[in-house]
Symmetry: C2
Subunit: 373 residues, 2 copies
């Protein structure tokens, strides 16, 4: 374990050297975990020119020893402030050979109140607002991370399959959400990646619908489910849209024809985008492939969000695919591909898979669902 985290810290040190930073204060708990292996929260990481030290409190003392024995740790005693702890770390030559002149800090996470305390405590240090230094490292997954995301996706799928096998006609959207999240836990999930979306019929036209306590599955024609499990700190993120038993068997042929048409268009957009994914291609170009396919079919006004996003330790790990994303794909990025068509008052269809960018193309990590069409 420790080797991967050390390699990540080395990556950040290269950025520090390039930009003349002789210290870096990490305050985002996700980044603290990424750089150390420590999974608690409320803790900061100081990266000095001589060493790395975790600033935490007594609640996490044992956990730190267990999870990252190779990283120094300073434990706040009762009455001591976090900034007092930071001062001790900065003045300890094991971590900083001298008081740093220019130290980076995470400006997209640090609050203004914290920053004001920080510069009040350390007037001798110039704190430089930095953005996404660690997040940029996180975009490229190492083999351990790829394995962890595969596992999270597998658990997501196991939970979904168990749900499809056990759902009853009386279930509301909230019931299906509760069952799905429970079944993912029973399949090995530590938590959910994000609050699951379960939406029937017209509610599926809201891309971020919150599950409702009204309306039973047996009365719905279609269902959209967007879900994912978290395991060992990494997430999966999938969406499936399908006709219910009622949608398939009763009701109008016109409705079914429409569903099948929209489904086919979304699936074609999804497949065309995936077929084009490989290192070196720009993210906006991938987005355009799916968007053009949907527009050509006459539904251009009904796909209002980006095509996908990076996943990793969090569900929106990095930007991903959108009309304005100029970044190029690189090997070992993992992203969602999730085109959708949302027809107000009727419903919505979204198909979302997670793909790993490989040397020559990509691998779909989430393709073993029984109802891909």
């Amino acid at each position: 374990m420790g080797d991967r985290e050390r390699a990540r810290r080395e990556g950040l040190r290269r950025v520090m050297e390039r930009d003349g930073l002789d210290g870096y204060l990490i305050v985002d708990p996700v980044n603290v975990s990424y750089l150390t292996g420590f999974n608690g929260d409320d803790s900061f990481l100081w990266i000095g020119d001589a060493g790395t030290i975790l600033l935490s409190d007594t609640r996490f003392e044992e956990q730190i020893k267990e999870e990252c024995p190779d990283v120094g740790a300073a434990i706040r005693s009762s009455g001591q402030s976090t900034l007092g702890l930071l001062r001790a770390a900065i003045t300890d030559t094991a971590y900083s050979s001298r008081i740093p002149k220019k130290a980076g800090f995470e400006a997209s996470t640090a609050t203004v109140a914290f920053y004001n305390s920080l510069i009040g405590e350390f007037p001798e240090i110039e704190f430089i607002a930095r953005d996404k230094d660690v997040e940029r490292l996180r975009e490229i997954k190492d083999e351990g991370e790829v394995a962890a995301i595969r596992k999270a996706i597998e658990i997501s799928i196991d939970g979904y399959r168990a749900l499809k096998a056990s759902a009853t006609g009386e279930a509301t959207e909230v019931d299906l959400r509760d069952e799905l999240e429970y079944l993912m836990r029973k399949s090995g999930g530590d938590d959910v990646s994000f609050p699951s979306i379960v939406a029937y019929d017209a509610r599926a036209a809201l891309p971020h619908a919150i599950p409702s306590r009204g309306g039973a599955l047996k009365d719905a024609n279609m269902v959209l489910i967007d879900w994912g499990a978290k395991r060992d700190g990494y997430v999966g993120d999938l969406t499936r849209s399908f006709l219910t038993e009622k949608g398939r068997s009763s009701g109008s042929a016109e409705y079914r024809r429409k569903f099948d048409e929209v489904f086919r268009i979304v699936l074609e957009a999804h497949d065309a985008a995936i077929a084009a994914i490989k290192p070196g291609v720009r993210c906006d170009a991938i987005d355009r492939i799916a968007r053009d396919a949907i527009r050509a079919a006459g539904y251009g006004d009904y796909f209002g969000h980006g095509l996908g996003h990076g996943i990793g330790r969090v569900v929106h790990d990095f930007g991903g695919f959108s009309p304005s994303a100029s970044a190029e794909l690189r090997r070992n990025m993992i992203l969602t591909v999730e085109p959708g068509i949302y027809l107000p008052g009727w419903g919505g269809i979204r198909i979302e898979d997670d793909v790993l960018v490989t040397e020559t193309g990509c691998e779909v990590l989430s393709s073993r669902l029984p109802d891909d069409e």
Copy 2:
């Protein structure tokens, strides 16, 4: 609904008038919900001298109409920035009669990156870092909030009772956590208040233990569970510690004697603190009552956290009881009382209830558990 939120906004307007602010930008989603009734996220609230407007995006358009029809809303179109939306709101005389001179913003939530963009966009406005203006209003619950917290606690208890009735000897800490969280959902919970703690034996000596996948209930002597349900935006927070069947029936009499002794001391500290709670008493005085009781019994070194905290829309809603809390209790505050004794290598006992400060004392909102002793 709308009346309560309007009264809260009036409360904030009084603070603004007192301190000479002619605008206020609310960025904490919990505070946005509190002041408007809107439960989505990624949205800001601008409080101008003439009106209030929610700045959101198309995902939440319908939800805003449903949840807070009396608040103005500006919906970000694709390609428009949130700060562009804010500029439109600030220059609309329906909300601000003129460009504000001094506007408050939430310095404990706003990030440095956001603040830098904000002052770059509005060099003509002096943005004043404010702390806890809305949080201070939130300390005193209105009748709707008291009812919501009662409901959340009831659901928490229902889930816990169902767990105690159904738990099997094979269950690990993770299994009990998963069952409990599922059973709270089945009892009407929207979500959990926080990740539940389930800890067997020596792990219960860690006040924030993360449930483990090893070790079965049938092999444990004692269990500590700290949990709560969230419903309609409000939370419950309880802890119970109890001997298992094994702890009660097999093993040493010495162990049971120790458990009973520690339990009795914690319960007496809990009861003594609750008996002293009433408006006008300082929070540190309540903390001291429990701490002194534990110290007098010889366990002063084993109670390392504050006695309790305010609850409300979040589980740590406001400071509450600690050795350094000089604030006075006021009517309609709701707080936890949770003394504990943690003995490394042996286990830990914490008893946590939620109390409502009344005119003359307090009401324990969480006292219908079957195993209070």
